[in-house]
């Protein structure tokens, strides 16, 4: 990224300090700091990885090591709405696959892709812990349960309406407590 970034220590100084204070040593703060980066910047750039490495006192490669291991961290920007459909057995038994197909059709993309307007990224994920209310999916990490294609249409419509109404969600609705 060529775009200059302000740096975590400037934008969320208090939160960084609060996170570091939770642990007896700095390295343990790595995961929550990465969550913080992702909440603020949408994804985790190389520059951010270097900064986080500096904060926790490890090598940048150690941060890279961690970022590439976990599925939650994005190394590229994703859509404004990240749609993650569960594909594991309990959901699959009740039509989880159908949901993905339906979304693929409605959005004109395949699982793993982002729509051209940058609004939606669709992907399939493994069990999200909503088995008793299958099929289920996550939208920006909120769980939606007992879904049907009709419900999906309604949800998509609302998300589109929301997206056209305002640019950013209000402060209270920001996702991702690090």
């Amino acid at each position: 990224m060529t775009q200059a970034r302000a740096g975590l220590r400037e934008t969320c100084r208090a939160e960084v300090e609060e996170i570091l204070a939770r642990y007896p040593e700095r390295r343990s703060a790595l995961l929550p700091l990465l969550h913080l980066v992702q909440r603020e910047e949408g994804y985790i750039s190389e520059a951010a990885m270097r900064e986080v490495a500096e904060i926790v006192g490890c090598r940048p490669v150690d941060v890279f090591d961690v970022v590439t291991f976990y599925t939650v961290y994005h190394r590229q920007p994703v859509g404004k709405y990240l749609l993650e459909v569960c594909r594991t057995l309990s959901c699959a038994l009740l039509g989880g696959r159908k949901l993905t197909r339906h979304l693929e059709e409605r959005l004109g993309i395949q699982a793993g892709e982002t729509t051209a307007d940058g609004l939606f990224t669709l992907r399939e994920v493994e069990c999200i812990g909503a088995c008793s209310n299958a099929p289920a999916m996550l939208i920006n990490n909120r769980i939606y349960e007992n879904l049907t294609p009709e419900k999906l249409d309604a949800i998509l419509e609302q998300l589109r309406a929301e997206a056209s109404e305002r640019v950013a969600p209000p402060e209270g609705e920001r996702q991702g407590l690090p």
């Binding site: 976990y70 939650v72 999200i128 349960e145």
Partner: protein
């Protein structure tokens, strides 16, 4: 957004202990929790009991870990080396075993119950710091837990000199980042330390000896700690009145799949599977019959209906030929293709394999691939035995239980439904056709889709291997810095792939592309 499910819509019963107030929408607030007798156990323990007495209570109740292994909790605590401090208490809230969705309900609706159990456990073992390792996907649970922690600090149940005693305790939520393996306790600890979540070498066998930052650490499942709350508050007999002698207490049973009333139910241990399925689950869907049940989450053997009368507890499920595990009961009816079901589960393990040990890292993809081949009508008669041979090669040879678990659905599916595998091979198609509930194959005949399926290998993000094929030793290197280079596992390859299979691999190209396993998820 009105369509957002603020809370899980799961159906739950008003259970005798953990679920007593679960359906009270205000229970997550401390005021309501206190009205319902909350933190009375903590008061009692700090005023009247020594830490050893708390441990003794838990021992008398014979509380066994609810994460799946059912190891006696008090004995686990007893493994902490004396005189070594600081110590830690960690709650495993990385609930990600497919079929399991119980801890989430507690954390969203009754978080103080967990907090009280954790503080009590910290008091019992002499720890002053508690972490709740929560899986990332539980956003609402994170909010509720942090809210509850703040309330507990405000009321003096956390912090310095709790309730006027000499006991100090701090607590924080540590959120994971999407990795099933972090439910494995040593991987969880590495993840808590800010590393890749990969299991540690044992011995020491328990984190009690060497856990977080190599210090003694008490690590149990959320449900276990909640049980501690009730055992201390009301005495061990409140716990032992339920269940059978060897395995007392209640269990949160998560019922999912093909039943009329899926949900999470708190039931005394020892009820029969049949009762769970028919009385709580409401029986099979209209016009269907039960065909198979996984009693304890994806890692446990699949049971056919003739095992439904065994008691649902640790010993009972072992007798039936399975395990109670996390009590994630997944039900499948006669519309389910067992090859498809096994394929789905193996794909889960394939995706979640951490890549540390060879049998798991290489075995899971092979199992997955052969199952996919059978499901797609391209299986060969030898394939069924080939699957069993791979299971044999993984069994007891993996670094942790993840790999050992991956072969379980395959073995049990072949054991009970071998005829279905044979039918797939003989007919050259899936006999359940379009109507069956298998994921990933319904109408999924175009090879392009199969080929496109991106299966991310954890941490192997080295980009796709050009050309695919798995017959080029050394072609599959995860090029990322800091990661172990990954070979083809040539020995495994040779073992799993006899000559015929190799030819088939060449022939069925798209079904056997190692390349896709290396590309990134996004």
């Amino acid at each position: 957004m009105p369509v957002v499910n603020k809370e899980s819509a799961a159906r739950m019963n008003d259970g005798p202990l953990l679920f007593r107030y679960i359906n009270d929408p205000e229970q997550y607030r401390i005021t309501r929790y206190l009205q319902h007798g909350g933190y009375a156990g903590l008061r009692k323990a700090l005023k009247e009991m020594t830490p050893a007495q708390v441990v003794e209570y838990v021992a008398q109740a014979n509380l066994r870990g609810r994460g799946g292994a059912f190891f006696p909790t008090a004995r686990k605590w007893g493994l902490m080396p004396p005189g070594v401090f600081p110590r830690y208490v960690v709650a495993n809230a990385d609930e990600s075993e497919p079929g399991t969705c119980k801890d989430r309900q507690i954390m969203e609706r009754d978080p103080h119950q967990l907090l009280e159990g954790l503080i009590l456990s910290a008091y019992a073992v002499g720890a002053e710091q508690v972490y709740i390792y929560l899986r990332w996907e539980f956003e609402l649970a994170a909010e509720r837990l942090w809210g509850a922690i703040r309330e507990a600090y405000d009321h003096g149940f956390l912090g310095q000199r709790i309730l006027g005693s000499n006991f100090n305790c701090d607590m924080a939520v540590h959120r994971g980042a999407g990795a099933y393996i972090c439910g494995e306790e040593t991987a969880l600890l590495d993840s808590l330390e800010g590393k890749r979540g990969q299991p540690r070498l044992r011995p020491p066998y328990f984190p009690a000896a060497k856990g977080y930052l190599s210090m003694p650490t008490a690590l149990s499942n959320v449900e276990t700690y909640c049980n501690v709350t009730h055992i201390v508050r009301e005495g061990p007999q409140v716990f032992t009145q339920f269940g059978r002698e060897k395995c007392p207490g209640t269990k949160l049973v998560c019922l999912s799949g093909h039943v009329r009333q899926p949900g999470v139910y708190e039931l005394p241990l020892g009820v029969s599977l049949r009762e769970i399925l028919y009385e709580w689950g409401g029986g099979p869907l209209e016009g269907r019959q039960f065909k198979a049940v996984i009693p304890g989450g994806a890692s446990m053997p699949i049971l056919p209906p003739d095992k439904f009368d065994y008691p649902f507890d640790f010993e009972g499920m072992v007798e039936a030929g399975s395990m109670i595990g996390s009590a994630g009961v997944i039900v499948m009816d006669d519309s389910t293709c067992m090859v498809g079901a096994a394929m789905n589960l193996v794909r889960f393990f394939e995706h979640e394999s951490c890549g540390k040990c060879t049998p798991c890292r290489e075995g899971c993809p092979w199992l997955s691939q052969i199952l996919r081949r059978i499901e797609h009508g391209q299986g060969r008669p030898k394939d069924i035995d080939l699957l069993l041979a791979i299971c044999q090669q993984m069994d007891g040879k993996c670094f942790c239980l993840l790999g050992e678990s991956a072969l379980v659905p395959v073995r049990s599916a072949i054991q009970h439904w071998r005829h279905e595998f044979e039918q797939h091979v003989a007919e050259g198609r899936c006999p359940f056709g379009d109507g069956h509930t298998d994921p990933g194959t319904r109408g999924d005949t175009d090879e392009a889709r199969v080929q496109r399926r991106v299966v991310a290998r954890r941490g192997m993000g080295g980009g796709a291997v050009p050309g695919g094929g798995c017959r080029q030793p050394g072609a599959h290197r995860g090029g990322s810095a800091g990661q172990p280079e990954r070979g083809t596992g040539a020995a495994f390859h040779a073992a799993a792939c006899d000559r015929d299979a190799d030819r088939a691999v060449a022939r069925d190209g798209p079904l056997c592309r190692l390349g896709s396993w290396f590309s990134d998820a996004l």
